[in-house]
């Protein structure tokens, strides 16, 4: 996923560069405790480890290959997404400056995709997923593995958007292809992250965070809904539903074509034009957020102010 020089336009490079510098400035302030006598070797070794792991590409279908991003793994081992952001940023700087892997002009975009988005999506999903699974320490590899896989896909979507904004490739080509191939790479990322954490949980449990309180708040339904709408929807059956099938069989499906005013809908048939299956996923997530927003707004209005209720 390393974007080379010449793939991003100067304006996209500048915007992502500024965003990355801001994120790194905060990370440097927040990650100071990662340099104690106890933590510094872990941070240094994790950085070297992710660097080495990114050099080993594993084969993916269709003649392409992928490599570990390591953001979620680093965040879980280091116990801090800020330290993990620094770790991945260091790896990307070394790769760009010493090995020309990922461009220097695209360094801001690469750090933003893998060091900020990749790390934070993985970290933010690991915590609620672990609590969803009961909060037990033994479930951490599974939670982190799933989160790591999803974080790769989200980072790829952000990279695709940057490439499209740069005019490198049209969005309807680059987004589905980047997302599709990174779903497969995400499976590899999830397996490696989960496997390494499962080993560490046995060999060095002191390196991993302790048990989490079981989650009972609003995050459980929200995360579940986003997983169903964004991920499971990709595997939805393409067959017509019951009414559609009956209308096709009996021939009254043509009546739908005689509507007098055709109302344009942005996500007709749960699709985004030109985005194929990924469009279903995006439509699902957008639909869920809109439903949540409307229901939340209605509930707030109905509830009224505390004084009115009394």
């Amino acid at each position: 996923m390393h974007i080379p020089d010449g793939f991003v336009s100067p304006s996209v490079a500048a915007v992502t560069g500024v965003a990355t510098v801001a994120a790194l400035a905060i990370a440097v302030k927040r990650a100071n405790n990662a340099f104690g006598v106890r933590s510094a070797p872990i941070l240094g070794l994790t950085t070297a480890f992710v660097f080495a792991a990114q050099m080993v590409n594993f084969p993916v279908a269709g003649g392409t290959s992928g490599h570990l991003l390591g953001g979620t793994l680093a965040a879980v081992i280091l116990g801090s997404p800020w330290a993990a952001t620094l770790c991945i940023a260091t790896v990307l700087i070394i790769q760009a400056v010493l090995f020309a892997d990922g461009g220097i002009t695209a360094l801001g975009a690469n750090i933003l995709n893998m060091g900020v988005v990749g790390v934070w999506v993985g970290w933010s999903l690991t915590q609620p997923l672990l609590r969803l699974l009961g909060g037990k320490r033994g479930r951490l590899p599974l939670a982190a593995g799933v989160a790591a896989g999803i974080s790769v896909v989200v980072a790829a979507i952000v990279a695709a958007i940057e490439l499209a904004l740069s005019g490198t490739a049209p969005i309807n080509i680059v987004l589905p292809s980047m997302t599709g191939i990174h779903i497969l790479i995400g499976v590899g990322e999830g397996l490696i992250t989960g496997g390494v954490l499962a080993y560490l949980a046995t060999a060095r449990p002191d390196l991993l965070p302790g048990e989490q309180r079981e989650f009972r708040g609003w995050l459980v339904p929200v995360v579940s809904i986003l997983l169903i709408a964004g991920v499971l929807s990709l595997f939805a059956s393409a067959f017509p539903d019951g009414l559609d099938w009956v209308s096709e069989q009996t021939g009254f499906d043509k009546l739908g074509e005689n509507v007098r005013v055709a109302v344009p809908t942005p996500f007709a048939d749960y699709q985004v034009e030109g985005l194929d299956k990924i469009g279903t996923s995006i439509a699902g997530i957008v639909g869920s957020i809109v439903c949540f927003g409307i229901a939340f707004g209605l509930a707030s209005i109905m509830k009224g102010a505390p004084a009115e209720r009394s």
């Binding site: 080379p4 020089d5 010449g6 440097v28 990650a31 100071n32 990662a34 340099f35 006598v37 510094a40 070797p41 872990i42 941070l43 240094g44 070794l45 950085t47 070297a48 480890f49 660097f51 080495a52 792991a53 080993v56 594993f58 620094l86 770790c87 940023a89 260091t90 790896v91 700087i93 070394i94 400056v97 010493l98 090995f99 020309a100 892997d101 461009g103 220097i104 002009t105 397996l191 490696i192 989960g194 496997g195 390494v196 954490l197 499962a198 080993y199 560490l200 060999a203 060095r204 390196l207």
Partner: protein
């Protein structure tokens, strides 16, 4: 004659200047190419090792660049070759364990410098642990055509991490015992004459790069 700090600064100026060039600015790129060649000959990096490194890295990069078409790929590859020539010449002529001293002079937050230093040092530990694990596997008769599968398994990667961490903790404790407090206990600043050389190189590089966008 050339201090570590000066060597690092000049290498970085060549790398960053050429990376920021406009696409297809061949004339400016050729000037950077000459600068990188002169710099490599001044540093006297060992040619066979330099050629082997450049060859491996370029082969890897060509897989990424060639699908973009010859015109775009050729510029990207030549530019990468110039960057790699400058940085590899610097790295191959560093005295042992002096990367941290060179890093100290960079105007970066100390957290980053520490992270870079430790990552560089622990890379050696990782590689030596991989060799030890390979030797251990061979001694147990675990070899053959599918031997690589063992090293791809998650538990082997985890074992490598834990073994390397044990050594990394001992190395860090030894560094602390020898006076390391987050920075290398040595002074590392540019001498006045060296400062002029860095300023001159910066002016040349920025002129070339800006000219590539304006002309």
């Amino acid at each position: 004659m050339w201090s570590l700090t000066l060597r690092l600064y000049i290498s970085l100026i060549i790398v960053i200047g050429s990376a920021l060039l406009k696409q297809n600015a061949w004339s400016m790129l050729s000037v950077y190419g000459v600068l990188a060649l002169v710099w490599a000959s001044i540093l006297r990096a060992r040619l066979p090792k330099l050629a082997a490194l450049l060859g491996t890295e370029l082969l890897f990069l060509s897989f990424l660049a060639l699908p973009l078409g010859w015109q775009r790929a050729s510029f990207l590859l030549v530019r990468s070759l110039i960057c790699l020539l400058a940085m590899n010449s610097f790295l191959l002529t560093l005295p042992p364990h002096s990367f941290g001293i060179a890093l100290k002079s960079l105007p970066l937050p100390s957290v980053f410098k520490q992270s870079l230093l430790l990552a560089g040092q622990y890379m050696e530990i990782l590689l030596s642990e991989v060799e030890r694990m390979q030797r251990g596997a061979q001694l147990r008769g675990l070899s053959g055509n599918a031997g690589w599968l063992r090293y791809a398994s998650a538990s082997m990667i985890g074992a490598l991490y834990v073994r390397s961490l044990d050594r990394a903790e001992r190395v860090y404790a030894a560094m602390i015992a020898r006076g390391y407090t987050g920075e290398m206990p040595v002074t590392c600043e540019l001498r006045p004459k060296e400062t002029y050389i860095v300023i001159l190189m910066s002016i040349i590089a920025s002129s070339l790069t800006i000219a590539s966008w304006l002309l």
